[in-house]
Amino acid sequence: MARVGVFVCFCGANIADFVDVPTVVEEAKKIREVKFAVDYKYMCSDPGQQMIRDAIVQYRLTSIVVAACSPRMHEKTFRKALSDAGMNPYLLEVANIREHSSWVHQKDKKAATEKAGDLVRMAVAKSIANEQLHEISVPVTKRALVIGGGIAGIQAALDIADARIPVTLVERSPSIGGRMAQLDETFPTLDCSQCILTPKMVDVASHPYIELIPYSEVIELNGYVGNYKARIRKKASYVNFKSCTGCGACWQKCPVKVPNEYNMGIDKRKAIYTPFPQAVPNKPVIDAEHCTMLLKGKCGICAKFCEKGAIDFKMVDEVIEREIGAVVVATGYDLWDATPYEEYGVGRYKDIINSLEFERMVSANGPTGGLPIRPSDGKVPKSVVFIKCVGSRDKAKGIEFCSKICCMYTAKHAILLHHKVHDSRAYIFYMDIRAAGKGYEEFVNRAQVETGAVYLRGRVSKIYQKGDKLMVRGEDGNLGQEVEVEADLVVLATAIVPYKENPALARLLGISYDKYGYLSEAHPKLRPVETAKAGIFLAGCTQAPKDIPETVAQASACAAKVCGLFAGDTMKKDPMVSTVNKEFCSGCQNCVTVCPYQAIVTEDIPLGHGAKETRTVAKINEGVCQGCGSCVAICRSMAINLAGFTDPQIINEIVAI
């Protein structure tokens, strides 16, 4: 005879305001198998849990029902309470009377109370059929894969490797460094971006626990947490890195000029190139799309000048495999293309640039030697208009979110402009100044006071050309009037958007992404670095726009998560997984098709005892199975059973109401 204990929670006022909790307790007591029922203000608190532990012993309970919030919130808490009292934790059922009743039926307390009673009856009925289950142990491959070699990927890789866990860092471009390597100085302290970044880049290259694979991409990921297998395509560099000394003779002699991505296309690089002088690894690659030798079979000048004979035009892409246990995704951001701002004449006027172009110009190692210039005539601008929120916070143009970092870097740009061109003036059109961060508000004040930057609160409605000036017409909301500023140069703080191939990467990894292409975290507040897929973590702007300190913090958090995952030799996993009854399985393989986790394969078993003939049946990898139950629903011969959600349990629930 089952002996069920029912524990109904007030959840402060969350439940009690809309559900008559004592009535629910009284209803529960009417059920034959319920030997004990009680309410309490906060069941998840320690005294609440103690009530459960005591009742288990005192009333010799065989299963427990907690009527409270969603099981997503506290199922683990209550399971632990059961274990502590010596009871199998899977004999717990949670009746969700908060999200499923009190919160959604706030206008009808009577109905909400009745529904809560029904939910409790169902949970009691189900718990009677609960079986003792035991956590599954899965072996772990202790190697992490980090995708993306910007500051997020670098930090995550270094932190994981410092815990003596091997890391494979995959970077799509020829060098690690990412966006941060393109920045001049960083807010709010104006320390040189390169100076603080390049030591970390060198650390990555020399770390005994880091395997750096530049100029490559992840093309496949199979398996499950702790046991992933990644396939990585190493793009042909046409340069043998082992013999190359990085002397530079090749790119000095290469006759082909290509727009330089590192300098945002302001100047040219060669077809054989390293992205920038501090590149790691400091070895050139040949850009196959532009190399005359690779395109037409003529030239080969680089090979002639390479004393080491490191150039190999016959090199081909190579696919390598790595077994890994966890993945950190850090693919970074791009700037939104502002062409839809036709009223600004984006694309028509050369002297409208974006913030990264300005960043490259004022950078000491930039294409203009650290001076901002007008692309139209090369003159140094005296009057520069900065426009914030170009694309961001603009529903009409498709991006509703705030790009977060533009307020700060625009303040920085005003200061840098002042440092480089003393007799210049910055005009900044803004919607709001969002300077929440340590030292940020002070930094914006500094920009205003120290440089005399003119902050104009209002949107720019139009930019037009008059002579060689750009006329920027906007609103000064503080004065309530229209203003026109004569500008030599206009810098747009365009929205931050995720790396354009994020959706494809997300599909490849089996994780989700939002409508903008940002990869989705498992919980916006409590699980901000995990994805919904176990063992895959997010760092940096691939998840949402963020600045360097936040990116570094998130990367370190990823590292902590990875280290935690790898702390034991095996991993524990919930036992709510499907199993196939081979006797009943007809081998239709419908379950293989519907399984969203590729957890089901087929196997051949003898047709009968000792028979040579075989038949095909489904086989479920319990390490991969997430217990969604799709296979149970599709199975025509009812051969699949999902632990924790067996047919008797479900039928009991239905019968109870």
Binding site: P255, K257, V258, L295, E342, G345, Y464
Partner: protein
């Protein structure tokens, strides 16, 4: 021969007769027969939609229902404001069945609106239905030598959700058409700025200021004249030009043509038929540029190698 319905609107039968006349010439040349909507009524213009939503939809709707009785699949409208009201009614009725049912009752005596007629401004019809190639093919008297600032005003391409045509901020369709006629369209940043519209009557100073800016920028772009496809734009820029010149002590002398006037000239119709006498700013100085050779500023010559695949070889 292609046949379209035609909604002239009040101005085409009055102040912008020269628009109406030249539209007819252009359509004839392009082998398009126009069938005027019988018993059409006022579109409601600015007045109706500032007073009553129902009236603002009901007035154009009656015209739409009448247009559906003709067997043509398209209705063209020369006036930008009429076009805007008709198209807005169509778009909103098509998107919102509840509104459609409600407004339909107002015109129930004329029949039921079914939404089967496409509505196009004259500019849109020229650009989309005639096409640049066909227009070019009919040009017998190219107007090359003329530099023209194409002014679209506020209603021909905006709001985008209604017009669903060209760019709302920097449209190019008219520019392409005048270039097909042989002229040169100047880069003109004020092509969709507000001219002041009907404030011309109630608060003329606003129009002097706004239209003055448009004239100034058109002049600065190097244009000999302005081209429009809207009667009110024409009236404000042309009729108020002397007042503007006087107020700001400047001299623009920029004739304001209807697009169809220039098309008709290019198609070989005699100048005398264009009703230029109705213009305030004389057009002769601008037309005198026809046949001149425009010197293009020299562009740096690119080596042939440079053209390949973004890369360039030294």
């Amino acid at each position: 021969m292609k046949k379209v319905s035609y909604f002239p609107g009040c101005s085409a039968h009055g102040t912008s007769e020269e628009f109406d006349e030249t539209v007819k010439m252009v359509m004839k040349t392009m082998d398009v027969e126009m069938e005027e909507i019988p018993d059409w009524n006022c579109c409601g213009a600015t007045s109706a939609h500032t007073l009553s939503e129902s009236l603002a939809y009901a007035l154009p709707l009656r015209n739409l229902v009448l247009a559906e009785k003709l067997s043509n699949d398209t209705m063209t409208i020369p006036c930008a404001s009429c076009y805007q009201r008709m198209k807005a009614t169509k778009v909103h009725m098509d998107e919102d069945p509840e509104l459609a049912a409600r407004i339909n009752t107002a015109v129930v005596g004329e029949g039921k609106y079914e939404g089967k007629v496409a509505i196009k401004s004259m500019l849109q019809y020229c650009y989309e239905d005639m096409g640049l190639e066909a227009i070019k093919a009919k040009v017998t008297n190219p107007i090359s030598g003329m530099k023209l600032a194409c002014y679209y005003g506020c209603l021909l391409t905006r709001p985008k959700a209604i017009t669903q045509f060209d760019s709302p901020e920097y449209p190019m369709s008219m520019d392409y058409i005048v270039e097909a006629l042989g002229a040169k369209a100047t880069p003109f940043d004020f092509k969709t700025e507000c001219c002041g519209a009907s404030f011309s009557i109630s608060d003329t100073d606003i129009v002097l200021q706004l239209s003055g800016k448009i004239l100034e920028m058109a002049k600065e772009s190097g244009a000999h004249a302005i081209v429009v496809a809207c009667p009110l734009c024409q009236s404000n820029l042309d009729m108020r030009q002397h007042d503007i010149e006087k107020k700001y002590n400047v001299k623009y002398d920029l004739p304001v043509f209807y697009l169809t006037q220039l098309m008709a000239i290019a198609f070989g119709f005699p100048k005398e038929k264009m009703m230029f006498s109705k213009h305030i700013i004389p057009v002769d100085s601008a037309l005198a540029h026809i046949g001149e050779v425009i010197e293009e500023p020299k562009k740096p010559v690119k080596g042939k190698k440079a053209v390949q695949a973004e890369s360039e070889v030294e």
